[in-house]
Symmetry: C2
Subunit: 145 residues, 2 copies
Amino acid sequence: MGSNAETRRSGCPISCSLDLLGDKWSLLIVRDMVMLRKHYFKEFLASAEGIATNILTDRLNRLEGGGIISKQPDPENRRQIVYTLTEKGVALIPVLVELMSWGKIYAGTTSVDRDKARRMQQDRRYKQRVIRELTEGCTSTPGRS
Amino acid sequence: MGSNAETRRSGCPISCSLDLLGDKWSLLIVRDMVMLRKHYFKEFLASAEGIATNILTDRLNRLEGGGIISKQPDPENRRQIVYTLTEKGVALIPVLVELMSWGKIYAGTTSVDRDKARRMQQDRRYKQRVIRELTEGCTSTPGRS
DNA sequence: TCCCACCGCTTGCTTTTTGCAAGTGATGGA
DNA sequence: TCCATCACTTGCAAAAAGCAAGCGGTGGGA
């Protein structure tokens, strides 16, 4: 299950983005890091969607190869590895926010806060605040889980 | 290659969005409709990335099943089918714009307009204008190719 | 009317990826 | 030393992607 040479299908920026992120798992890992402040293999593994270990390993390597995350040995516990977002990864936050916003309105089962989501969809300031806060949270040093 | 029952992996809006759109082709089809004003099977087929006919059929059905596009027989030429975006599909434009913006800066080969893209990334008004114009272009009646 | 090009789509097949379960070597604490 | 836990591998079956060829229906031209 190699994380091999990423061949670009075209020069289109959207296509290039999807070459890196166009699957069901990569952006969920980024979501875990951004929204849930996860940094460890076992934490990603414990997410509700239930990723398999081999897929997780592959995606983490791919994301690292694509410069979106970086992996370092945990200074506090050398048994585990800390995964953190790079600048390139933090820059994905607006994509995540738009996907979340769209999903809340159009792809959700829980129609509870659909109206709230729709309002937020139109309220650019609110969305910008969300993006700013998340970004700040990701560029500062991470707290332990 | 059935476009069968879409099982949701979790209730997370991002996960729900990716259940529908998390692959290498779906969003490219939406891009073709939004950015390049494509409406026909053969037009999608002709895109630079080179999608196969069976995959295209599957994705079009899946997108229709997900309420993102609708297909009708072309009133002007009953041999072909017109694919158009629904409101739900048009609402994906901000996602596309963010993916494009990110891709231009971080995933591109052509570093030509990377600075311009980075400026645009910060300039929320410009991005909003792009989104507005694209959205208006998609909600009005489509011109012929 | 007959023929033919073109439309979206299907089929058959191989290759690649995913998903699942079990196992592995390294590490650190008791 | 023993043992739990860490990230990660491996083996195998199922699903999806990719490729090439073919198919039925339509409309236009002769």
